[in-house]
Amino acid sequence: MTALVRSELLKLYWTRATWFFIAGAVLLAAVRVELVLASVGKVGSPLRDSPELRLTVLGVSGSGSLVVALLAVVLVTREFHYATWTSTLLITPSRRRVLLAKFVAAGVLGAASGAVLFVVAAVLGLISGDVTLGIDARLVQLLIAGVVAAAFWAWLCAALAALIRNQTIALFVPPVLMIAVGALLPAYRLDSIVPWTPDGAVAALAGAEFAGSLPVWAALAVLITYGLAASLAGLQRVQRSDVC
């Protein structure tokens, strides 16, 4: 299995698009952080050196996870898009193992990217002089939450991509799950569902407090449930399909 995961990571490493995606993720996170820092001192914005500013700066770095999730989608769908699925299965006929390796690789990609995005946000915050980053339990929680959330989004989106298979359609999954759902549910007065959505559980993982927010352990359980359900559905689809 290790060799399979490494093979999936090599596929990412040896594809130029990967580096464009990662650069895009860092850029998006950096822009979001800079926008927050630019608003410091304005009405309704966090104060300089405040814990809220630290939380906001480190929190918005997670926006880069959207681009990483798109890359996780491509990790799966390009096998079908370029018909490389055939040669992949000829070398490793067990579709379950191949897909599992892809999900693990997506998770590793997400976790590593989450850590990088967190560091980028922290460095920009420190450079601005507006953010104080004392190493404490809260910072560690934010770091772990950022890494786990990025890994989760990449895993979930890769699993849903295996279910959908069509690259164009699958690329809509990350923005819908990570942006649209969180925005639309309150608009339709479905706030009670929000804590149980992936977006709500990710927020709870970072220690955000809102109406009905779940404890960290429950948020983690919710994320794992979503990931497993999507993985099983994706696996079922791939197992049953013919590679013509």
Binding site: L10, W14, T15, R78, S94
Partner: protein, 299 residues
């Protein structure tokens, strides 16, 4: 034990039966041609053998086991299907390294197979820049990574120039000489007639016939065509010697199942004038067209 054994293989896509109760064996140490008209079910059959398409019924064994149950199949069987399964942004070498990695095949083997298929100079070029012929060679290189005893190739000559076709023939023959087995589907019947020892012919998903090229072609039709101004006399004389002979529309004598030596001796004994004498044999293409046409009439 047959290298590849197909028993009662059936595949239905909705209401369409692509492969229907197909059974055949591919003997070890041979090149076996897999023939059929377009839409006969060749590619579907190969993909079922390789575990890519789930059969509706029947089974296919490679080296005694279903492909999906082979432990590290790259070392048992190499397959090259259509030359489209490449990420265009990757180099040829990296494409192969990705395939090599899960089977712990070392990188030097990647360089070896690139050398074998004559792609060493293009190893660091992106596959998107490759011609169809180069992609065919790269696909073959992927099949060779584990140096398997069995090769399954689907239309490997597509996109190859005459020199490439010649190279492939020599290459496959060399592998068989070393004890390898090749199952190859191709439209180039003349090419298969040269390189293959046996053929499996299917049509509309069903087996039409299976056998050696000799069985199918050699014994079913050879004749000597003689151009002579004394055709009637020659025909009568051959018939009197128990040789089946007839006059063709062009006024030539066609003697069946006989050698040029026998006809030559008969001509000399009778003191006849002969302008031309040609030994002819039915080609694999003639046999293929006849067999598949016969199937069409039957169905």
């Amino acid at each position: 034990m047959a290298a590849i054994s197909v028993r009662g293989l059936t595949k239905r896509f909705g209401g369409v039966t692509a492969v229907n109760d197909l059974s055949f064996d591919v003997e070890s140490g041979t090149i076996t041609g897999f023939l059929g008209p377009n839409g006969a079910g060749k590619t579907t059959t190969l993909r079922m053998i390789l575990g890519l398409v789930h059969p509706t019924g029947g089974s296919a064994l490679v080296d005694g086991a279903p492909y999906v149950q082979l432990d590290r199949p790259a070392f048992t069987v190499g397959a090259a299907l259509e030359a489209t399964g490449f990420h265009p942004g990757r180099t040829a070498r990296n494409h192969l390294r990705i395939l090599a990695h899960p089977n712990q095949i070392p990188t030097h083997r990647v360089d070896e197979v690139l050398e074998e298929v004559d792609l060493a100079s293009a190893a660091r070029r992106r596959v998107g820049e490759f011609s169809l012929g180069m992609r065919q060679r790269l696909m073959l290189a992927g099949a060779l990574l584990g140096d398997p005893g069995i090769l399954i190739l689907d239309e490997p000559t597509n996109g190859l120039d005459p020199a490439g076709v010649h190279w492939l023939r020599e290459f496959l023959s060399a592998r068989v000489d070393r004890g390898g087995t090749v199952l190859v589907s191709s439209h180039l019947l003349a090419e298969l007639a040269i390189s293959a020892a046996a053929v499996v012919i299917i049509k509309e998903g069903r087996l039409v016939t299976q056998g050696t090229i000799g069985d199918l072609v050699g014994h079913t039709g050879s004749w000597v065509r003689v151009r002579t101004p004394q055709a009637s006399k020659l025909r009568s004389m051959l018939t009197s010697r128990g040789i089946s002979a007839e006059l063709s529309a062009a006024g030539e004598v066609v003697a069946r199942d006989v050698s040029t030596q026998q006809v030559g001796e008969a001509v000399a004994a009778a003191g006849l004038v002969v302008y031309e004498m040609t030994a002819e044999q039915r080609s694999l293409e003639d046999t293929f067209l006849e067999l598949t046409a016969a199937e069409r009439h039957r169905s």
